[in-house]
Symmetry: C2
Subunit: 316 residues, 2 copies
């Protein structure tokens, strides 16, 4: 197994990306390799700082860099030798098994869609976040940003993606699926959520437990919480805002610590044909390390095979 | 000035409602009176527990009670002598200047719309919440639940309502107005927020500062944060969930304490012809007291007159 990493992605690249890769290699099984995508001289310099042997990594020379905020479409056309463009080519050609970057989300998404493509049957891929619970487990919230406007069938597919992810990655045998909504009754909420509620209610395979209100987000009511990408992103950022305020004010607590994004490293794009992970722009070495480990887990778990199986009847 | 209170509204009524009314009366100016709507015998018994003189209150006999979760439309038809139905009739006939209740939100909203009606020009009334900031000030977020599906013009009106509320009630001379959105750039977000962004950008009277991301909700970027009622309600409940977790885990902090809903008591319905306040179902005596005081402030500030002035050109 070879796990690809964009060395130039993120606010603190390449220092933290190389540091994270060096740490990840220690934690990975012997037979798993890490492929570093970036300018060779930069990579060698950074590896040198850690006294790391370059022979332990696959180094793929990528002389160009796509900056944060560049137009995704233009970036790929203008910079075919960038670390992200070459990384995705390797992933497409199966020279690597997964590709991770803390670079621009839009660029990563466009690269993923254009290179590894959607799993047949999937209308819109999405991204997720884990929501820590006080009992030490986590809930999965999705979508958290790729789809600000959602259709009913798209959100139904999020529920399926979330259910399978929760089962195979988060190891919850029969995940409970809930719908983020305002009010407990099925007639409450927006036209969209009222309609999604009806679809999920009829989907007996999904173990649907009904609406999850904002106040229940951190409880065990549902293991998978389905929402549109607009609401999900607001929730994600608010969670980040509140936990960072708490930490900044010096309030120490093990549960609040569990919200630290570094623990999860990055989020996979769900619904495409290969594991692609997007890291937080401000990623630390710890976050990069955990993103690489998460990509290993996703390859190892055969998640995508299970996605394909679930959507097979839809794509026929 | 006479401030009306539904004695039977809320999970802990009538104990806390009467206790809150007794405390509020102490804090109000001499010439301000409180009218209590509920069964006379219940009111007298509860007042007796506080050794409060019934002569100090206007007691309005209302033998019926609307329970939480009753269908709003049916409730008013079936229980014309309920505290909420009679309270709204008094408000309509100007026998009281404001009406507050910690009863069912849906019932309160229907009662408000049917009795005191919308201010001419207003398409959809809304409710708001204050969002505490670390500098001790508060931001205003609206809508937080009345309108799960919003049109562009409706959200433009929320911005106007929020601006005026912020100016006259929160005493911010020139409030900055922001739009809750995912991403800073104007082309980010849902179709709805992208469109609202364009309208607000052109509204020079509103002091529009652009998009406010979830991570910026607690900062001074904007004093008024405009959103649809679905997103706003999720944000409100998530805020409540996280702060209650923090308090429950014994983390004490003055800033976190400022999130306590009891400090604000209740939220006014903005955009109707008279002050109507809705309290939290779980309202304590302190919350009821502060809701009554807030209704006094709203009458005193001439807020509705200023709303009417702002929407006059629209209603012509």
């Amino acid at each position: 197994m070879i796990l690809g990493l964009d060395v130039m992605g993120g606010d603190h690249a390449p220092g933290v990306t190389i540091a994270g890769a060096v740490d990840a290699l220690d934690a990975l099984p012997q037979e798993t390799k890490i492929a570093l995508f970036g300018p060779r001289d930069v990579i060698l310099t950074e590896l040198g700082k850690h006294n790391a042997d370059p022979q332990c990594f696959d180094i793929v020379e990528c002389p160009e860099v796509i900056a944060m905020g560049e137009s995704p479409i233009r970036a790929f056309a203008a910079k075919p030798y960038s670390s992200i463009a070459i990384g995705f080519k390797f992933l497409k050609n199966k020279k690597i098994d997964a590709f991770s970057s803390a670079g621009d989300t839009g660029v990563m998404f466009v690269g993923a869609i254009n290179n590894v493509e959607r799993i047949p049957g999937i209308i819109r891929p999405c991204i997720s976040t884990v929501v820590p619970r006080e009992d030490g487990k986590v809930n999965l919230l999705l979508d958290v940003g790729l789809n600000p406007d959602c259709r009913v069938d798209v959100m139904y597919q999020f529920a399926i993606l979330g259910y399978i992810y929760s089962k195979y990655i988060l190891k919850i045998p029969e995940p409970k699926v809930g719908l983020l909504n305002i009010g407990a009754e099925e007639k409450k909420g927006s036209i969209l959520t009222q309609s999604v509620h009806q679809i999920l209610k009829d989907a007996s395979e999904l173990n649907f437990v009904g609406n999850v209100e904002g106040i229940e987000m951190f409880t065990e009511k549902a293991d998978v919480i389905v929402t549109d990408g607009f609401t999900g992103n607001i929730v994600l950022k608010q969670m980040e805002a509140m936990t960072s305020i708490i930490v900044r004010r010096g309030l120490r607590d093990s549960y609040i610590d569990s919200f630290n994004y570094e623990n999860f490293g990055g989020t996979p794009i769900l619904g495409i044909n290969a594991p692609v992970f997007i890291g937080h722009g401000k990623s630390s070495a710890k976050a990069i390390k955990n993103m690489i480990l998460a990509s290993q887990e996703m390859v190892h778990s055969n998640l995508i095979k299970n996605f394909k199986k679930a959507f097979k009847h839809i794509s026929l």
